[in-house]
Symmetry: D3
Subunit: 316 residues, 6 copies
């Protein structure tokens, strides 16, 4: 199978042509791919402002601005990996439990083909069926590590009197299901007022390492990155990038913004710090175009997608 | 019980004070009210662009611009009716079937108190549980008539492979459930490309009178209004105003816009033409603030809400 | 004195150069002008949403799109009239009564130079000092006629417990001061809910002809224009164009929008119908850029300004 | 070759999947197609506000809202015509004359394959090379007729001191080149102030029928459509739809807006009136997303594209 | 009196229900409250871009995103303080001096009830009558200290030829009136070009400590906070947070933006540093929704309001 | 010749009057000026999103917020320099090579009058003809140094198959033409993915000092400024400020945004660090208002223009 190349913007203008992720070819079959970029346009787990269902399309649009080579690391992902735009999973927006099954099934096909999924949400509940599919593809590997960029821990138990599947609960479910190893989970950028003083107690009791934005600001990206790498070690892990980890001035288009977040520069440094980890898949979630201004959130999402792709290319 | 008056904008500026519908008092108990204005912030039935869950809040905001007396008919609704803002129904956004039950239960309480509901959606599926509650409150009355302002017939059978409860199906369900009498149903403003040539066949076979925008444009508001009044007669009916009946230049903030719609002037004339009908309740639905521009859709929604309130005040 | 020409957009692009009204020269002295276009950036009389103070600048911006000759009437105003952009009156935003005096004094200078003022507001209270100045310039002429395009009558007595000078009261004041002759006043486009059933009684008792939007819609521009011309006759009059007479889909950027208004096409036909009247001055008011979307209101304002200029050129 | 069907939105949500025109398959070869929809993302001929280069992408986005069957005529274009999204012509934005050659060459390939082009601009200068290619494909047919929806005549001679190729000059060039027959050219919706009293003289001298908006408003769509059909007769013609023919409240996203334009309802009626003409190709031009608000212009453009496609399907 | 709790967003969605500050109960009587949150929707002192009159409503809207417990300090303000939303002061927008009296009188009622005011402006001139009321409530306390977050010193003498009451002059007036003790005043975030080289001389001569943004950037929040705490000591002080202290990328919706401001993270750290001070009241001012983008300024304002509330709860 | 003063905003409100750069007088002749501020409304070299042609007008608009004295350095530029707004160069948008000649000729006139040009673009290709004119005015001075704030190196060879004049190539051309001395060129803020691993090789081979954003973040403004001053020495140089050097959260209105950029605070510190250099001219380019949100980019551009003006005033 060939290595796919993005359309060259020095030949074809960026605004020309169909909007695919990174201007890569649009394929419908993951066979032969190393990494399948795909969209999961679904926001049925959203407790507040919806719209992440429109995320994949706008991230595709803005990803036309990406080029081929990382300017800091020199990584040229399309020379190392076979990557394509696999389209969107066709998830219906009405029935939540059916939607989770549809997502899991779509990702399972990617895993079965031997490709790693790099998905664009959708709300953060989409990560749960993605993790299920990855885990089921090789259950003997045991539970996965998780690097989670986020303003919120997303480890609540339920919402609205018993709804256990929302975008505020995916990682509690994944731990309960044995998919994630909480002692190899790290959450970076957590902040904002909380419902209760002990809101994060359950997570911390499981062993999740919560790095509040204040600790990050004090210690800096280098130290934090080193700690993350140590926590993850050589074992397989997954990287989930909730766009609300970024400050809402830089990523306003999201459902639950919290001021005082990561700058894009800090987020880039942190993702670059994941180089060399054993990453089985990654995602960018919670980009909600109806609340975006000037496409900046989708641009940030597209750029973080490129950063993640480069890290996938640098995986051991 | 007193007649409630809006805050007087000639004394307190319109931008001051809590945003309630029409600047009316916010009550939590419908007892003694003739009309209860309330919000149903839920959009779980939406097949395309979400956001109608945010409708009630923005319609409240823009309704601060409304005054007390209708400038054409002279109707002073607050002198004839006891009206208040009953708040929003607390409907959770995650579980669709549970949400329908929550809405029905909330409206049932209004009906039980002897008040007529004037609700602000939410997507058009919210009208189904509202109709259920009104119908159950006096089932011996038989099925209701319906005056539906809409770009779409909303009488499809199902979406996405079997989802029977979406904002494209409520009136088919209501007919099947014996709540609506299709021979006393009229749909005004229907337009836009369709899935299939026979898409409206089922509706027409039931006896629903579909008035496409082209017929409206040809015949005008006076003739159409006369026909509607004749169809409804003296029997009880419900009025549902989907904001997408209005042209998207005047109401862009909605999930499924179709160009070539009613102007606001035409819509106002049509609603005024309902004067004297036996209306048990009414709603304005599908105002989706995340897609609005400059609040114009919410303003249009608020004004149509006032027009509907005046017609409720003129009910026989 | 020369006839001033706008910069030619077939030579210099429309987006180039300082933004002046109609791309005319910016002068500081009205001497020798037939018509002085000027801005009155003040909104201290606004009872609801402010921002009309920013109106002149944005109307200037959008007026770059205007050309030299009216496409229907063939009127070439710059060949008939000496016109220039006289800049803005330097009115302070803090002290209301002082502001009215500043405006009157600025317009008095224009009148003293023999020029007719064509001003851009600013809220509708700015029209009061303009009328005062015009009237004082030749008091023996007697009270003036008024053609008022507006959603509101603006003849209330006071607001907020005794404030007699607001943008809802100017024409009552002008009648009381003997500046306007109410029997030669016509208001077109009036609509929207009212505070009280008799809100317009005072105005109608004085003899003001109120043409509600519903009457306009029924009779059309030709009939209404004929009636206006008959009412005005040969005697001097003033034309005031409140942008909220236009439907808010076409002019959202205003402080008190009312749906169901004039279309721009209708408004253009009505203004063209004023040809031949004895017009001493005119204005466009209530363009509020902070509430505008995409500059459409300012563009509408600029185009109506050109229409008014052509009518001034056609004055007997 | 198969008939291509759009993705069914009752199965796959409208917001899912790659944005192609009408959700049709994206092909790179026109062979076997009856109609090739394609984008021409180029605005190098723009004299005022640029951005039409971004038109194809946003029209694609909004065209996801289109369905399969015309609700008035019942036309099902995908059952009559083989249609696909042929992508965008890769036109560079720097060298104007080279760009015209690139466009002509791209369209020539479509014509050579026996398909009719239905293109989305791009500014109105893109229509010139399209017409050249169509004409050269069968020069013995002689000059074509033209139905032009537009606010401007676009028959100026040159701009900025001698630039003969701009979006204000294409139809003058096409007449000079013998591509268009001016006596079978009709322009509908013309309006706005003009540079000179005789600006349209050349066009009228050639025999072009200019229908100003005022004449249209007076006579209505039925009469105007009949006249257009008579003018075109059975001979081949081309239809060009400049989005600025529509009122800027309904299509703000364009480079040279003029208030007082066609409503979308009127435009739809006019395009439907072209049914049965011998149309060799069509386009929608001057959609400029950077100036759009809420995507309404792109939605209008996408809907007019569907209307044009249906008319192509109804061609004799 | 009970401790009031915000509506729980884990039970009732954030977008549901009336928008009150922090989703607290709306009360009309301050009796029994420890802190009264209230709006002052007035911007009559604004010298440049207006709109802060709309601030309270939008800050209420965005405050729905706040939760109950501070994630860093663990402070649970609603368990320590009786807090409610007292509504807006009904200040008329026309007469400046009357407005100042209305504000003072409204705050006096809060003070008389023994509650501390936490107000949302409104422009910065609203702080003057608030300070007057607080000072008059216990004049024997002597002049107050002031912690002022701001881009501007707001200690000018007058504007526009003698207007002494504008949003650029409140603190000069308050010093002159003996309400503030300039030697216990600190201004943080000052920046931007100035009218004159000695513009801040008067303030510095009085003893006001001006901390320019450059000094802040050099020394950091910890050092600056320590200095502020030392300056304030145990004596009573007031905290005023002008949203323009924040960088306009994070708070664009304000009347006089200055680039290069505080980040929200820095501002949060600074406000948290006020813990333990003897604070009699606080405000957030100059949020101007008409100039906001995507609600980010109102969100920032709402979050700073929560930060201030927590500091009020931590007051000795 | 007099020293020109901006209109005083303490006397005339900022929103009043014609929008000129810094509210300076608009002159048409540079004679006697020390610095001529002028606009170059042209974006014909843009490879991606256009709109910089509208930059000068919006930067003028926002520059009304500037005052007279720098708050850090105390520099009062209008007391040291004769400065005025010289208007815009009348560059046509159609013919690229002719446009470059028009720009060069316009700047040559400024140089001939002995004034230094401070221009506002326009895309970055406008800097090439500006440099040509400055160089030709005194060719014996030899090639100039360049301080370039930018996200991109702009030293590519060609685009789209041979177009050598685009906004991605100006500095390669200027080096080839002997106008710039690459060993005295420094580029600050470079970042973003690149076309090829060796994309910057040519530039570095020439001796250009490229300071990537990561190096800047590590070393800080003080060190970088010192290095720049050392590189420039006493020899003449030019300063070009591409607004995309700033982070797109703070300057979204530009054609090729790259996240992770300079903050405005950092950019201000860097420009202030140029004090004392021998600067022959400067510009702010790539402000593209159609992509701006809330005017923040134009405000940033206007403020950087003021910073540059102060540095010009501090030139040895």
């Amino acid at each position: 199978m060939p290595f796919h190349e993005p359309v060259d913007a020095a030949l074809v203008p960026r605004f020309a042509g169909h909007a695919t992720f990174m201007r890569l070819p649009a394929l419908s079959d993951p066979t032969g791919l190393d990494v399948a970029i795909l969209g999961i346009p679904w926001d049925g787990g959203t407790t507040n402002r919806p719209g992440a269902r429109h995320g994949p399309r706008e991230v595709r649009n803005q990803s036309s601005l990406m080029r081929r080579v990382h300017h800091v690391t020199g990584t040229a992902p399309y020379e190392r990996l076979r990557v394509a735009d696999l389209g969107d999973l066709a998830v219906q927006p009405i029935d939540l439990m059916a939607a989770l099954a549809q997502i899991e099934s779509g990702i399972a096909a990617v895993c079965a083909a031997g490709a790693r999924p790099l998905s664009v949400g959708g709300d953060h509940l989409t990560t749960l069926p993605v993790l299920r599919a990855i885990h089921k593809a090789a259950p003997t590997r045991g539970p996965l590590g998780l690097v989670q960029f986020d303003a919120h821990s997303d480890t609540n138990d339920s919402y609205f009197g018993g709804n256990r599947y929302t975008h505020g609960t995916p990682f509690r479910r994944a731990i309960e299901e044995g998919i994630l190893d909480p002692r190899r989970m790290v959450q970076i950028g957590i902040r904002g007022s909380v419902y209760a003083a002990d809101e994060h107690q359950w997570a911390q009791d499981q062993g999740i390492r919560i790095i509040y934005i204040e600790e990050f600001a004090r210690r800096g990206a280098d130290q934090i990155s080193a700690e993350i790498r140590m926590l993850m070690g050589d074992a397989p892990c997954y990287v989930t990038f909730d766009i609300d980890s970024i400050d809402p001035a830089m990523a306003p288009g999201t459902g639950t913004p919290e001021i005082g977040g990561l700058t894009t520069r800090e987020a880039q440094a942190l993702v670059r710090g994941l180089s060399g980890l054993n990453i089985l898949g990654a995602d960018v979630v919670e980009v909600s175009p109806p609340f975006d201004v000037g496409g900046i959130t989708a641009l940030t999402g597209a750029t973080m997608l490129f950063e993640l792709l480069c890290v996938l290319a640098e995986t051991r």
